[in-house]
Symmetry: C2
Subunit: 302 residues, 2 copies
């Protein structure tokens, strides 16, 4: 079995992670977190979201964060942009990549944004066009690709459809996301194959949640197909909005530990990630959700 020699880990903790935290995290803490993650070696950090602060108050400081971070040349700092207003703000803030999104589940789309999948993607056309005009990278996130909290199963054809639409919008990268963490390895491979049928494999990424403890097994199964981009959240920041007290985004430390063990290059220093996870967990006043992180901290403490 040939696994990729090298993968890109997209660190989503500062945005996707913190967005789901109840505790308000001030801009200077977020800046420190992003700076630590930059120093740890990530090539891509999801740092901000230019959504209405009415809907996501945790992200109200996004412009401040983007202005305050110490950028390292070559590192891509991404921002979520739900509409043209968000795009203009991301552009002004110097985001290198804007992220648009759509659900693979029709029920999820209807319940979350009150419109069909097709319509939700059409709404992103101006953002996609503007990103191209301004030379920004364009990424799309396809949520509920492995299962939906409302409709349960999500047909593979729906995943393929959304991936094809996002491709046609000119996306450089497309995330296949297990929003509720229900995937297992065979399902992972089936859904990823559906996406591979519509988009070049080196532009596809796996965004797995560890809600049922399956994320690393799924990442391994995706690696076996040749997927080479994965999302993770330092210290497992974020939790699961669909099951209180359950785990959300897979923890970056666990992913890096596995990649190191597999001899797959990430460019990321695990100890520095453990430090960053410890920093933000202390701020949030709780034990981190990364197993590798907790084990390595325990080992350090002797």
């Amino acid at each position: 079995m040939n696994l990729p020699n090298k993968v890109k880990i997209v660190e989503v903790g500062p945005r996707d992670g913190l967005q789901n935290e109840k505790e308000n995290v001030p801009a200077d803490v977020k800046i420190e977190l992003v700076n630590r993650l930059t120093a740890a070696g990530f090539a891509n950090i999801e740092a901000a979201s230019f959504v209405s602060p009415k809907w996501v108050p945790q992200m109200a400081t996004s412009a401040e964060v983007m202005a305050g971070i110490a950028r390292k040349p070559g590192v891509i700092y991404s921002a979520l942009t739900p509409n043209m207003q968000g795009f203009e703000a991301a552009l002004a803030a110097g985001a290198h990549e804007v992220v648009i999104f759509g659900a693979a589940s029709e029920a999820f789309s209807q319940r979350n944004i009150n419109c069909s999948i097709a319509e939700s993607i059409t709404r992103f056309e101006p953002v996609a066009k503007a990103a191209k005009e301004h030379g920004l990278r364009l990424r799309a996130s396809v949520s509920t690709a492995f299962g939906c909290p409302y409709q349960g199963d999500v047909p593979l054809e729906s995943v393929a459809y959304v991936v094809a639409r996002m491709r046609d919008l000119g996306c450089d990268e497309i995330d296949i996301a297990d929003t509720i963490g229900v995937a297992t390895p065979r399902k992972t491979q089936a859904v990823m194959q559906a996406a591979i049928g519509e988009f070049r494999i080196d532009g596809l990424s796996g965004h797995f949640h560890d809600t049922y403890g399956q994320a690393l097994a799924n990442i391994y199964a995706a690696l076996e197909l040749g997927i080479s981009i994965f999302h993770s959240s330092v210290s497992g920041l974020g939790g699961c909005p669909y099951a209180k007290g359950a785990t959300g985004n897979v923890a970056t430390e666990d992913v890096i530990y596995m990649m190191n063990g597999l001899g797959i290059e990430t460019g990321v220093d695990l100890d520095a990630v453990v430090d960053a996870g410890d920093f933000i967990s202390r701020f949030l006043g709780r034990k981190g959700a990364s197993r590798a992180g907790n084990a390595l901290l325990a080992k350090r403490a002797g």
Copy 2:
């Protein structure tokens, strides 16, 4: 990739799990736990350990537990037997299977039992012989097969050597154990291949710890080789004796969730395991360590 259609999950929570818990668990609680696990459908439960109570006070009630449980015909109730005294006690208690053990790491053997690997196995000869004479199943656990807290790397040849010695003692089943949870999927396959070289594959089991979050990925990698017996601990009971506050045995709920998703038959009812995990976690006064368990409990709570 052909995975097995069916696997045996050996539930080790009542022994390997509780043995590492600080809180004293009275016999009636253990009996209730074993009865719940029996009802959940496990074909094999590690229920007792006939070691000196001086060394492992948590196991002092083993005879009482074995006498008190409601046995289901066909279910194997196993007991750890470090020596002939332990064997006699296990026999008297009606254990169906006795478990002997050895380390694959020379340093671990020396530090833990003050003798070489070879010597430690020789000491089990009378127990192995007695088990055969009395028609009891004989199982061997090979610890530190993937790494050692003292010597670090463990040569594949050491694993093969211990497996061969245990085979020659007449073992029916041999566990390959990642005592400190350091394995990743490729390493898992390499170590398992070394064991497969010395013993029939349908008698080999994978005993993985989730200390670094890798257990399910490793189990999946072992399934790909055709390994069809796995150990797990309800609610992740046990913790890691080598890193305080870190995770130990992989949680049964997470394993069953994956097997269900893979369409692999276990004979175990996941909801009943979640209930058993909730029962013992409440007794211990803490949140369980199973991600699937916590997510399913959160879903039930709505």
